[in-house]
């Protein structure tokens, strides 16, 4: 399995190559090189997955962690050292497949979508960098390596969101994304430090071994502000995950990040980077459940709340990509909630399994939705739903694939979303009824806002288009079709055979009560959307008027952006930043200026030493030696 290192080397080399000499290549050539490289990575990922799941992964009926490659990078003590390596276990292998597949689709799609853009080569270079970072993140053998790649993901996503750097809104969005996630990562880092301080290791295997024995025993019962230290560490680590995965209240960057090119949104803000937080919690799952179950409960409630919150906002948004952005937040929160309600081992670990299952299926249908949206935007040159309508007859492929994705996300059997969502609901149903009912409502809302979008864009009367919209070219249609196939069939994978909380396969079955409830919710959602939006009518406006308060709150995203602005601009800037700036300018700069001035003056004064006369040099030599001797005699 040593060849698995290639899956990291290839995208990194591609990044260096495209970044350094890409500018000299013809844009198309650069794009094709990038795409072929990513294709190679996908082949690798699939071959690793085959080898892992069907040849070497399972011994004694348990999925093992395989480390085909690892070297020690920095050593602090015997135990505490930073390794760089590759860890293969069911979830990391699954992530390899997801990332390379979606990334390859996005690479192909971008050949058409980004055609003729300035900086086409730069775009592909950054795509490679992002793929490299994300792949490195999921195969990390230890939490510090994960942190390194975690930050790399942040940087590369920053440069991709800000790809149109001449556009002020894109620059603002990329800054916002970077700062918000970076702020969350501060918590992550502190959490890592606390955790490794007590456990003396970064290694995932050591942390999670034997029901996270190391974590439960090494924290000597210390508490801080009423919470045990281990809970603090894990809650802070979760804060990092909440930043990347856009959990309330750190979700504010994701809708703005839609300023980036649409394929980027499909890759980063649907399938890969935003699920990093879910992946993080899943990776440390035994530590959470045995070390600090109360944190896990908190995660469940944050997840459920975020899911509902984002779904409510998604209902009123009019920008097609923003609807999808809030839908993403809501779905990721679904996965978080699933992790939160999960138990450990066998069927109790259903939440864990279903979370990963939903991550897997969601990646494909959400990428499909984004790419479909990109196709629409490409055709009508606008993001606003009011500029769209009746596109079904112009863009058959886009419309049908989008429809499939909508059915999948709404949870209509037999599309993939149904199976994964059903397992999540089942897990919640048996553990936390409150969370179950919340998620159930969210399922209905999801179906409603997705079909509001679908009907509004592809049906709903006719618009007068200046240019007649037409179906996108082959490079854009192909990924849509492939992803649609994935969206239909991935639900049939017997996921619990492969992924479970303790590595042992178990039987999953469809819980008929839950399934019926969720399908009913979805159908009601779709039906309402059909009535309101299939044909152009006054009904939506009337409803908006009727529930004016709620409508205003929702369309303004509950004013969360404004709250954050108040906290940062008014409170933090005035009370913390200004005093620090003063200290920096007056005290620190002042000291430095003084050092510089004194240095200059002294250096002027001591010139006489360097006279050029050998006699003097010799005199200084001997005198120096004698002075040192005197000093030694005085001090010893």
């Amino acid at each position: 399995m040593e060849y698995s290192i290639l899956i990291l080397i290839t995208p990194f080399v591609l990044f260096l190559f495209l970044g350094l000499v890409g500018g000299k290549l013809k844009p198309n050539l650069a794009g094709i090189i990038g795409t072929l490289g990513m294709g190679f990575c996908s082949v690798l990922a699939y071959s690793i997955a085959y080898q892992y799941f069907f040849v070497i992964g399972k011994t004694a009926d348990t999925w093992q962690s395989v480390i085909p490659f690892s070297f020690e990078w920095l050593r602090f003590t015997e135990l505490l050292h930073i390794d760089l390596g590759i860890l293969l276990d069911p979830i990391s292998v699954m992530m390899l497949v997801v990332i390379t597949t979606v990334s390859l689709m996005v690479h192909i799609y971008s050949l058409g979508y980004m055609h003729g853009e300035d900086g086409f080569q730069r775009y592909y270079a950054f795509l490679s960098l992002f793929s490299f970072s994300m792949l490195g993140l999921v195969v990390a053998t230890n939490i510090f390596q994960m942190y390194i790649f975690w930050e790399l993901v942040g940087v590369s996503s920053y440069s991709l969101i800000g790809f149109y750097y001449q556009k002020p809104s894109a620059v603002r969005a990329s800054k916002k994304a970077f700062i918000v996630t970076r702020f969350a990562d501060l918590g992550f880092l502190v959490g890592i430090l606390i955790l490794s301080y007590y456990t003396k290791t970064f290694d995932f295997a050591a942390l999670t071994a034997n029901n996270a024995e190391l974590v439960t025993t090494s924290f000597a019962g210390g508490t801080f502000m009423g919470l045990s230290l281990v809970s603090w560490a894990l809650a802070l680590i979760f804060m990092g995950g909440a930043g990347k995965s856009a959990m309330f209240p750190l979700h504010i960057w994701l809708p703005d990040a839609m300023e980036g090119p649409t394929p980027v949104s499909a890759l980063i803000h649907a399938a890969t980077m935003v699920v990093a937080g879910v992946f993080l919690v899943a990776r440390l799952f035994p530590v959470y459940i045995f070390g600090a179950p109360e944190v896990l409960t908190m995660i469940a409630y944050i997840g459920a709340f975020t899911a509902l919150f984002a779904a409510v906002i998604a209902i009123t948004q009019t920008d097609i990509k923003r609807v999808l952005a809030f839908s993403t937040i809501s779905q990721i929160a679904y996965m978080m909630a699933a992790l939160g309600v999960s138990g450990y081992g066998d069927h109790d670990g259903l939440g864990y399994m279903s979370s990963m299952f939903h991550l897997f299926t969601h990646a494909f249908f959400k990428a499909l939705l984004f790419l479909g949206a990109g196709s629409v935007i490409h055709a009508v040159h606008s993001n606003e739903m009011k500029d769209m309508g009746g596109l079904h007859k112009y863009m058959k492929i886009t419309s049908i694939t989008f429809f499939i994705a909508c059915l999948a996300i709404a949870g209509i059997p037999p599309f993939s979303g149904f199976f994964s969502k059903d397992e999540i609901l089942a897990a919640a149903f048996h553990n936390q009824p409150l969370i179950f009912w919340t998620l159930w409502v969210v399922a209905g809302l999801t179906a409603f806002y997705m079909f509001r979008l679908y009907f509004g864009v592809f049906f709903n009367g006719k618009r007068d288009y200046h240019h007649k919209p037409h179906e996108s070219g082959f490079t854009m249609a192909l990924p849509l079709i492939i992803l649609a196939v994935f969206s239909i069939f991935t639900g049939f994978i017997p996921f619990s055979e492969y992924i479970s909380s303790d590595g042992k396969p178990f039987d999953m079955h469809i819980d008929m009560t839950v399934a019926t409830l969720s399908v009913v919710a979805a159908i009601v959602g779709i039906a309402v959307a059909y009535v309101l939006y299939f044909k152009d009518s006054e009904k939506p406006a009337m409803l908006a008027n009727r529930f004016k308060g709620l409508y205003t709150l929702s369309i303004n995203k509950f004013y969360l952006d404004e709250v954050w602005l108040f906290v940062t601009k008014k409170v933090i800037f005035n009370c913390i930043s200004r005093p620090i700036a003063w200290f920096d300018k007056q005290v620190i700069d002042g000291t430095m200026d003084n050092i510089a001035n004194v240095t200059q003056k002294v250096s002027h004064r001591v010139r006489f030493l360097q006279s050029g006369h050998t006699q003097r040099y010799i005199a200084f030599f001997v005198m120096g030696a004698i002075l040192i001797a005197i000093a030694v005699f005085i001090f010893v």
Binding site: I595, V602, V606, Q610, I618, A625, L627, I628
Partner: protein, 473 residues
């Protein structure tokens, strides 16, 4: 006489063999000798590589000569540096007045290198002294190699005078040590060491002798004049190879002989490193000539090198050796660029010649920039890691104030290192600036090696771990 003793001297014997081959090739060959330069470089390259397979361990001649994996590594390190310097001399040795004497350059360099080997492997003060003389005296002829130029000749005279003085001072110190302990052998002397006035006086004067080679303040005054006057590749040799050898010799002498009275020499090193770093920086700030600039920069670097020695533990050894290793690549990268610019510009070595270098010679400018970044200790170039380890070693022995002062000085040094970058990247080219240069293949090889070294040595943790393994033995 037991001839198996000689087996411990594999590096020395190998070097003498290289010397003899080149010597006879020179005498017996025809007049033209176009092949001489490739022969010398390839032969020395082969010897450098072969050096990594010599791994003697033991004592020869009753403890006069000591070989260990650590000394072998140090010698290999000096070989690499010398090889890089050789590669940078091609253009210079092609010049008319020098061409017919170019083999002398190689032969004399090899002799000085032999002297440095003996300094490192010395187990006896007489051996150390002989090594130091072998390393110093021929260097004076190298410094005066451009003998038709007044500056070079003057530098040679200065060098030999101060060098004679340093030898005298050192011998004076050693004679006191002998008087106090009755032996020249490191191990015997260590057993009888005390803090009697005679030993202290001996220690200080012995220190002065090596301080001259390391150019520690106040034994440093020759440095700037000699560095400026000497041919550029000799300056490179002096600043890297000669300095590295002296640092290693000092390290062994202090650890092996004076290990029991570490408090005394730690005090000396403490004071000298502070004034060396500071004064080196203060003078470097004002220079307008690039070679003088690097003279003072190398003085200040010497102060950092002895910071590692002060720790008196294996971590200190590792940090020192690692520092020298990184210093080899960083400093020689600069000198490769300086040689190229100087040869193109007819010997003009003012900093102004570098104005606008990034436009006319982007690759040279990039290399120079990496080099000064590394010397200044900017992450993630090798110099950052070497400074980090040095500071860690000194801090591990409890010298926090010293580390703090050194850190402050790092900031000052950044300022003047960045002046070079500013000249190359921000200043506009004027009539003194250099035009596009076509380098010869030999110096290109050396530049590539330095480039890779600066980028890679710090990041590959295996190198540090490897040296640490040697130092623990």
């Amino acid at each position: 006489m037991n001839f198996s003793n000689f087996l411990f001297m594999q590096h020395e014997i190998g070097l003498v063999a290289v010397f003899l081959i080149l010597f006879f090739a020179d005498i017996l060959g025809s007049n033209d000798k176009k092949w001489f330069y490739p022969l010398a470089s390839i032969l020395f390259a082969a010897f450098t590589v072969a050096g990594f397979f010599f791994n003697p361990q033991g004592e020869a001649f009753g403890g006069m000569f000591v070989a260990s994996p650590l000394t072998s590594f140090m010698k290999n390190l000096l070989n690499i540096a010398t090889f890089l310097v050789f590669l940078q001399t091609y253009r210079w040795l092609e010049q008319k007045e020098i061409k017919e004497r170019r083999f002398e350059y190689f032969l004399i360099s090899l002799i000085t290198l032999l002297g440095m080997y003996l300094m490192i492997s010395a187990g006896n003060f007489m051996m150390l002294y002989i090594g130091m003389e072998t390393a110093s005296l021929p260097l004076a002829t190298l410094v005066a190699f451009n003998k038709h130029q007044r500056k070079s000749a003057e530098a040679g005279v200065k060098f030999i005078m101060i060098s004679a003085l340093a030898s005298a001072v050192m011998l004076f110190g050693v004679s006191y040590l002998y008087g106090a302990t009755g032996t020249f052998y490191f191990s015997d002397m260590a057993a009888n060491i005390s803090t009697s006035p005679m030993v202290l006086l001996g220690l200080v004067f012995f220190f002065g002798g090596l301080g001259f080679k390391l150019s520690l303040v106040p034994f440093h005054l020759w440095t700037a004049d000699v560095y400026e006057g000497a041919p550029t590749s000799i300056t490179a040799y002096l600043s890297v190879v000669s300095k590295g050898a002296a640092a290693f010799a000092l390290l062994f002498a202090l650890f092996k002989v004076f290990g029991n009275i570490e408090g005394v020499w730690q005090g000396i090193v403490w004071g000298l490193s502070v004034i060396t770093i500071t004064l080196g920086n203060l003078f470097a700030l004002r220079q307008t000539d690039i070679k003088r600039f690097f003279a003072f920069s190398s003085i200040s670097q010497a102060g950092y090198i002895v910071l590692g020695i002060i720790a008196n533990n294996s971590m200190g050894i590792t940090a020192t050796v690692f520092y020298v290793l990184v210093y080899v690549f960083s400093n020689l990268a600069s000198f490769a660029v300086i040689s190229a610019v100087e040869n193109k510009n007819g010997g003009d070595t003012s900093i102004a010649a570098f104005n606008g270098l990034s436009k006319s010679n982007p690759k040279l400018a990039l290399l120079m920039m990496l080099s000064v970044f590394s010397l200044g200790g900017i992450p993630f170039f090798a110099g950052f890691f070497s400074k980090f380890f040095i500071f860690m070693a000194a801090a591990s022995a409890g010298f926090y104030l010293l580390v703090f002062i050194a850190l402050l000085n790092t900031v000052i040094s950044l300022f003047y290192y960045l002046m070079i970058v500013k000249a190359m990247y921000i200043n506009k080219a004027d009539e003194t600036s250099v035009t596009p240069i076509k380098s010869d293949n030999y110096s290109r090889i050396s530049m590539v090696i330095c480039f890779v070294g600066i980028l890679v040595v710090g990041v590959i943790s295996g190198i540090y771990t490897y040296i640490n393994g040697l130092a623990m033995l």
